[in-house]
Subunit: 526 residues, 2 copies
């Protein structure tokens, strides 16, 4: 159903909580409390046959008894009651429902049947569904906490969409500690209706989100996903943590020419084609989200490393090398310009080691020269808190140098206690900062990858220009044959390609020497 | 000079600070202040020709004027004065000197000459040298802070030895924040005398250190290093972060059969041979140090993953797969035993997903069953703070379950704000805990690698059993020839192997067809 009615879920005027409660420790209570504490400004209607008021709000015996138009029903009753509730929602022309209740397909056949019934009713009635078996949705900027999460994160420009409830809660808890802000926080659960494709499209059109982070375990509607991702990733970065890389998921199918590519490499290729950056860990997900939401895209991978210590510079170089890159060699003019004010024993090379006694001014002057070079695409500043180092002053100088200047600059203040206030300063000023040179360089290279993916995206023709003639009968016969045997022989696989209009080398089977000779003559071979 | 006099540096009774000062912002002041604040219990003698007392201590015009036996001189005067001071130290039979002063070989030819002179004098007089161009040494447990670091870390059982001063200060600052304790904290600087081999030997014999962490940029005395590491790594784990992996260091030497192996893979092989675990990042250095110092070694890689969320379990599995491992399949008896108390929809597989509503008791019972299995070598417990989760109670239960039971168990409490007190509890109880499933699994696998390295170590015969006859003249001639040309031809390289007594296939050079035929006949070929 695409974007239909999604606005009524994410921007509701009137919400009903079905299964609302005042009893501590229940989901129904958490949902009410969160909507109230979050500051929801619309109308709120608890639904519960046993109470007249809940948390001071007039309470209704059922959804059908509601008087005013309802946008969103949040359902937290046992799964076997949900079918009827969804029917009532359809009758009442409700926009959407968030089904918190578990007990659907994840528990087996019986749950699957329930989900299918819900799906039929909702689809027929134009009711959108988030879940079931999800944590809900949060939009901190709009003061909407339609979830049973323990707290609301701060408002920010990251959108996070996750299939796993456990990952949702972990990320949320981390975000609360590290003060990471979100525009959208969505737990998709079983994705009976609203899925990743819908969410990418929807969030792609919402200017409050600057980048989209996805935690994916499996994709249901691949075609919709690809089309949404391809169009949105041109506008804002999409970063995916797709788990299940390991072989359990990837069944290698034998063929006489070798094994088929694992399922996971198909995901890899598809993500790349859609302009998506794929990361391996939660840490990387946030590291590169931070960089992408704060910085302009680098033109290329040519990174200058400015450091007050040799060791950290080597570590940054090693990470670049791991991804097939080297620190960009410095132009002679840059070396000349740096020679003018750096002490005689600076590295005269990239990493630019400006030595242990580097003052804030020395940092600033060096960075300024890198900024002005056309052969440098980004600058990483590394600081180790040595005896004569002023971590906070260097951060302050950097902040005022960068003010109003969009440039791919990022930092790594190494350490803990002494550097903590400096890191805070950099964070407040929107300058990305990392714990270790490795994390910083990796995040930069992901950003470069995103730029490269975008270029690839623009190169690919979006539609086929001529029609393909497909011989479906032939293809069907070949597949039936192959299904009967163990695998498809080479000759048949070539026939298969021909059936789809792809040119192949002519291939015939010869069973005797005479056969071969005849076929050869026929083909005009000597 | 091996271990000679090292005890007088690391356990001094009487320390002189040459270049001591009371002036804020000077190294000489920082050194004095650190020794005093650190609580050094021995005799302290400032040396400075311009003052009678410094920080209240009787001050001497030179080392030669000291009355009592001196163990350690810490020298922080300009490098050109150091030669004379070292001479005085030798005359006074001082045990060792820590030379803080920079300006040695790192600044070029002139500095190199100064270092060579210092080395000659010290070596002849039996004076051990740490540095020059170093930060000093710290032994928190012995209340010795002979460094100009800003603060002393807490006492603990990790020994850290670093060649880079910048890395030293960064690690120290991090340790202060995260409350990581050290037995030894050593900045080796230019390693004019005391090097990694010496330090491994020395710390290996000190029971206060349980594991040894090294940050290496280059090794000076490879043979000494290998011999020390091979013997010490049998007793305590040695974990190395060797930077400079990238090609800059590895010069590929051409030969007509291909390129020589890069320098870095030689390090890889050597570390493995010495039983050392090599890591890639500072993060990994500490992650696996924590596990190794807190836990017994696992018997093998068979890991059980107990989790209250599917997503994190998949992420742990993916990391195992990345290193070529899978979660160990569960024995039927274990599945039976778990069926008795777990809810019907648990995963019935490893990762053992005990579901989102898992109580502390459910965690404890599951772990207990894993403990008792002979087919499980370690247990990773993952907790995501979901609506019905009690992160702190689960941690408490785990702490009491583990009390007095040495077993490779480690944890990952995912999140931030809610889980912080639980993580503190686990840390206090000595149960290793990590931010993400990936970091936890990686640390475990490093520990498995260490065990495997140890086995390899014990398999290798330490000495050759028969004498080798070496034809040195022949080898010398071949090398002279090769040095004159561009590379050593195949025939000569085989001769070379023969010169060292290694059997090779007989190889002759034929320049014409007739030659080849004759040689063939001679060899008995048809």
């Amino acid at each position: 159903m695409g974007q239909y009615n999604l606005d009524r879920i994410f921007k509701p005027q009137h919400i009903a909580v079905v299964g609302a409660s005042e009893k501590a420790g229940t989901i129904g209570n958490a949902l009410m409390q969160n909507l109230i504490d979050g500051g929801f400004s619309g109308k709120l209607s608890p639904v519960n046959p046993k109470h007249k008021t809940i948390h001071g709000y007039d309470t209704f015996k059922s959804v059908s008894l509601l008087q005013t138009k309802l946008d969103l029903a949040i359902i937290a009753t046992p799964i076997n009651t949900v079918i009827d509730i969804v029917s009532e929602c359809v009758e009442k022309k409700v926009g959407g429902a968030i089904i918190i209740s578990a007990g659907g397909k994840e528990i087996g056949e019986k749950g699957k049947e329930i989900e299918e019934k819900i799906q039929q009713i909702a689809y027929a009635g134009g009711l959108r569904i988030v879940g079931p078996n999800c944590m809900g949705i949060i939009r901190p900027g709009a003061k909407l906490n339609a979830s049973f999460a323990s707290e609301m994160p701060t408002a920010g420009n990251l959108a996070f969409v996750s299939q796993s409830g456990a990952i949702c809660t972990a990320i949320l808890d981390m975000a609360l500690k590290d003060n990471i802000g979100f525009s959208h926080f969505v737990s998709t659960g079983s994705m009976l209706d609203v899925d990743f494709g819908d969410m990418i499209d929807y969030i792609g059109n919402d200017p409050s989100a600057k980048s989209i982070l996805l935690y994916i375990e499996s994709l249901t509607n691949f075609r919709k996903f690809m089309s949404a991702a391809r169009s949105v990733s041109r506008v804002k970065p999409i970063i995916v943590l797709k788990s299940g890389r390991s072989p359990a998921g990837a069944k290698a199918a034998a063929s006489h020419t070798g094994a088929m590519a694992g399922e996971d490499s198909v995901y890899d290729a598809a993500f790349k084609r859609a302009g998506i950056v794929r990361v391996d860990t939660i840490e990387e997900l946030f590291d590169c989200a931070e960089l992408m939401s704060k910085q302009p895209r680098p033109r290329g991978p040519r990174l200058a490393i400015v450091t007050n210590g040799g060791g950290p510079g080597v570590m940054a170089t090693d990470t670049l090398a791991k991804y097939g890159q080297v620190p960009v060699p410095l132009d002679p003019e840059i070396i000349q310009a740096l020679d003018l004010f750096l002490p005689p024993f600076w590295s005269r090379n990239n990493p630019i080691d400006i030595l242990g006694d580097a003052s804030p001014e020395r940092f600033a002057q060096t960075i300024e020269i890198c900024f002005n070079s056309k052969n440098i695409d980004g600058v990483l500043v590394i600081l180790a808190p040595q005896a004569l180092t002023a971590p906070i002053s260097v951060a302050q100088t950097l902040v005022s140098t960068m003010k109003g200047r969009p440039y791919p600059l990022f930092t790594c203040w190494m350490g803990g206690k002494t550097i903590a206030p400096a890191v805070e300063l950099l964070n407040e000023a929107g300058i990305p900062t990392y714990d270790t040179p490795e994390r910083a360089v990796r995040a930069f290279l992901y950003m470069v990858e995103y730029s490269k993916n975008l270029e690839t995206l623009l190169e690919i023709p979006p539609k086929l220009t001529r029609q393909i003639m497909v011989n479906q009968d032939k293809a069907g016969r070949l597949i039936t044959n192959a299904a009967a045997g163990e695998f498809m022989p080479e000759s048949d696989s070539k026939e298969m390609l021909t059936a789809y209009g792809l040119p192949v080398i002519r291939t015939e089977i010869a069973k005797t020497e005479a056969d071969a000779s005849n076929i050869g003559k026929e083909m005009g071979l000597r």
